[in-house]
């Protein structure tokens, strides 16, 4: 955390294309002195951190990675609004030197706004390895900006880039004017003059930039002009005229002419000796291309992809077991400590409510962190983009986008994820419709909280086939997600797909720092959930299962029976009879617990809906667990155990117990697995959906998913009973 007594002397923005190394540079500058939030009202991440400089503290804001500054995506709007409205002292524009031409396209747009730009020419090492050279002094003088060579992953040139931005020679904003050709330049001039004459928003926006954006048909800028209807009408007439002219003579539109001329401007600069190629090294195939010829091979590619996913899954579970054991033992120890308290409601609240509930969730933290570490590696190395590329054709059939694979996998497409960061990962999808379909179906995946339910039921009913059951249930999750996505995309969220146009970034070894920060951001969401929502829900469920207490009249006969047996036990000399007596006493104790539960609010609720849920084979005890599971899936197993009057320590025995219980059979088990897999997302996921989409869609996901799951569960159960499973 920054030392807040120190004043913040400047704000510097970091901007650049996705994958240009912007985040690595940001991490290198700010280290752990950063925090991630959201821009108000929207779901674009806001990252900022602080750096100590000789003159004082400097705030560094990492803007979202973008290729352009149009109004088509929230990221681009956020980036340009930040620069225009918050007026940072300058922007460090991180460029990937290996694709300089395309990266400069964004630089030109920053220069057109007029903000002082410092170019961080990143990955110069990779460029030189390719046998190319950039004359950075020449680039600096031609573009009239400071250029600093950096290799952000090894911290080279990073501080120099910040220093250059802080000591930028250009003190005021000076918009760059480039020529857009004989068709657009005159009208651009006319529009600029008009804006200046009326002094329209000139305090905030550079006039020529406004005119240019108006010509580019930028909806946000056009809306600005609605404040001045006369100016708006004049501007629109001019824009329409020139658009008609371009359509007639050039068969194109002003916004495309603008893009073409920007690239023309850039290549005219690059041609002046900025980029030189060493002929002896040319023609050497790019390393990424070589890797791609295997990893995205038409036959080998998909097979390797399945292998990687399966490998990640098995490694996660193999390694995750160890720290999971530690966390479990810790909570057992905590629980035994709490047992020192005098028996009564308080102890029961602490042990059965808080420790059991929160401990059960935190037990999964190591597993989830390892899973996220793996996913982060796939993402940061560039492989995730290849998965999107290979899967796009399949996903498109279901109305989704290749990039939907990321939220699906994080949500538990490989068992063990979590839908909360999964739903948030859907942000990377540009089309609102595909994003909505993705985030509504991602909760069908096998998240880490559902896993124990499947393990338990598999152990009870398919003891030899645990792994196969898990595999099949994962496939069912994927199938449900895709089919429902198709249903949604052809009904309530119908609409055309968005452009796929996507970069395949070069393969790179992720930096340790980047991996840790990225993994921690996601893991933290999960831990926060355990500390807040699940804590509250555990207490609530405990209360629902405890109150109202069993009436003394109902409890009295059993308690007197126990007392009688205990008196006999005290005087009984024969060991075998003593054992039998002890057994009877504990049976009666369980009976009290069971009666208490049946009489409690939760028990009454469970019984009330039993006539309906019986169609799917669920009895009232299962109902309690499932209702609790709407809050958090983690509580299903522990609630089932309590409802069957067993403590957590006896969980092993639990699977044996339900396997032989009269109300359980294979059909019930399969039906329950399907239901748990598909029904309402947990409460935290619902909140996440509301934030990413709307409360309407969040409620929809609760109602629709539960209905969908119930129909499938009933069908499974009824079929199973007829087949005699």
């Amino acid at each position: 955390m920054p030392n807040l007594s120190e004043p913040v002397i400047a704000t510097i923005a970091l901007a650049g294309n996705p994958n240009a190394g912007k985040t690595t540079l940001f991490n290198s500058l700010t280290g752990s002195r950063q925090h991630v939030g959201n821009y108000p009202g929207i779901t674009v991440e806001k990252k900022e951190g602080y750096v100590d400089t000789p003159h004082g503290l400097t705030r560094v804001v990492d803007l979202p990675g973008t290729y352009s500054l149009t109004a088509y995506s929230q990221e681009e709007l956020v980036a340009r609004n930040f620069l225009i409205h918050e007026r940072p002292q300058g922007v460090i524009n991180v460029l990937d030197a290996t694709s300089l031409e395309r990266n400069l396209y964004l630089t030109v747009q920053f220069l057109e706004i007029g903000i002082p730009v410092t170019v961080a020419l990143n990955m110069v090492d990779a460029l030189e390895a390719k046998g190319m050279r950039i004359d950075s002094d020449r680039l600096a003088s031609l573009m009239n900006v400071p250029v600093v060579r950096t290799v952000a992953r090894s911290d080279k040139g990073v501080r120099e880039a910040l220093d250059a931005a802080m000591n930028h020679p250009q003190k005021a904003w000076q918009p760059l004017h480039i020529s857009y050709g004989p068709d657009l330049d005159p009208v651009l001039k006319e529009m600029t003059d008009l804006i200046e004459a009326r002094d329209f928003l000139t305090q905030t926006y550079p006039p020529r930039w406004l005119a240019l954006k108006f010509l580019e048909n930028d909806l946000v800028v056009r809306q600005l002009f609605e404040a001045d209807s006369e100016l708006h009408r004049n501007m629109r007439d001019m824009a329409d005229n020139v658009a008609r002219h371009c359509e007639k003579t050039l068969k194109t539109q002003p916004e495309f002419i603008v893009a073409d001329y920007r690239y023309g401007y850039i290549s005219s600069i690059l041609r002046q000796g900025v980029l030189t190629i060493q002929p002896d090294l040319q023609g050497r195939a790019d390393l990424s291309d070589k890797i791609d010829s295997v990893l995205t091979h038409q036959l080998a590619g998909p097979i390797i992809m399945l292998g990687i996913l399966y490998g990640l899954f098995s490694v996660t579970f193999a390694i995750g077991q160890v720290p999971m054991g530690w966390v479990e033992s810790f909570f057992e120890w905590l629980s035994s400590l709490a047992m020192q308290m005098p028996p009564g409601l308080t102890r029961s609240l602490v042990v059965d409510g808080i420790i059991a509930g929160v401990g059960g969730v935190l037990g999964f933290v190591p597993l989830i962190l390892i899973m996220f570490l793996g996913i982060t590696f796939l993402e940061d190395s560039g492989y995730m983009a290849r998965m999107a590329y290979m899967l796009d054709r399949v996903f498109r059939i279901f109305g989704l986008h290749g990039s939907s694979v990321v939220p699906f996998i994080i949500s538990g497409g490989i068992p063990g994820g979590c839908a909360v960061p999964g739903v948030m990962a859907a942000r990377t999808l540009r089309s609102p419709k595909e994003k909505l379909a993705t985030l509504l179906t991602a909760p069908f995946m096998v998240c880490g909280a559902k896993v124990p339910v499947f393990i338990l039921l598999a152990a009870a009913f398919f003891p030899e086939h645990g792994a196969r059951v898990m595999f099949l249930i994962t496939l069912v999750g994927w199938a449900a997600a895709l089919v429902v996505a198709k249903m949604l995309r052809s009904s309530v969220i119908r609409g055309p797909s968005t452009p796929f146009v996507m970069e395949l970034p070069p393969y790179r070894m992720p930096t340790t720092m980047g991996m840790i920060l990225h993994t921690w951001e996601r893991g933290w969401q999960y831990i926060k959930k355990a500390g807040t929502v699940i804590l509250a829900i555990s207490v609530l469920i405990w209360a629902m299962m405890t109150f109202p207490a069993l009436s003394p009249e109902a409890a009295a006969p059993i308690e007197s029976q126990i007392q009688t047996l205990e008196r006999r036990l005290a005087t009984e000399p024969i060991e075998e009879i003593r054992l039998a007596l002890q057994n009877d006493i504990s049976e009666l104790n369980l009976h009290i617990k069971e009666e208490t539960l049946a009489n409690s609010l939760a028990g009454r609720l469970g019984r009330a809906i039993e006539p309906v849920t019986a169609w799917a084979g669920f009895d009232w005890r299962t109902n309690i667990a499932l209702v609790g599971g709407i809050a958090a899936k983690e509580v299903i197993v522990s609630t089932l155990a309590t409802a069957h009057a067993l403590s957590d320590a006896e969980a092993q025995a639990f699977s044996a117990r339900i396997a032989s219980a009269p109300s359980w059979n294979t059909s019930v088990a399969v039906s329950l697995m399907i239901f748990v897999l598909l029904y309402s997302p947990c409460f935290v996921t619902v909140v996440a959906i509301a934030r990413e989409a709307s409360w309407g869609w969040a409620v929809f996901s609760v109602v629709f998913n539960t209905g969908f799951a119930f129909v499938l569960a009933v069908a499974t159960y009824q079929l199973g009973m007829r087949m005699g499973w």
Partner: protein
């Protein structure tokens, strides 16, 4: 007479120069923002397992687009490709 083909028809490893881009609206803008402007040299470097999307190499980086998007782009092939 130069040979002009649709980007969709290009084979893997074939290269050429972009002539026209017919896409409108957001797609047209995205394609150009990513550097696919007339005059750009491209090489088709691969196709996904189901032949779609297609991966292109241009300006030092790799870009993928769907065949339905490639349909809007015409490419001039060098003379050697005439056979």
């Amino acid at each position: 007479m130069p040979t002009i083909v649709n980007l969709r028809e290009m084979r893997v490893d074939q290269h050429g120069i972009i002539r026209t881009i017919g896409a409108q609206g957001e797609l047209g803008r995205r394609i150009r923002d990513m550097g696919l402007v007339p005059g750009t040299e491209i090489t088709v470097i691969g196709r996904a397992p189901l032949k779609d999307p297609v991966a292109l190499r241009l300006k030092g980086f790799t870009l993928t687009l769907r065949n339905s998007e490639a349909d809007f782009i015409t490419v001039e092939l060098p003379d050697a490709e005439l056979v």
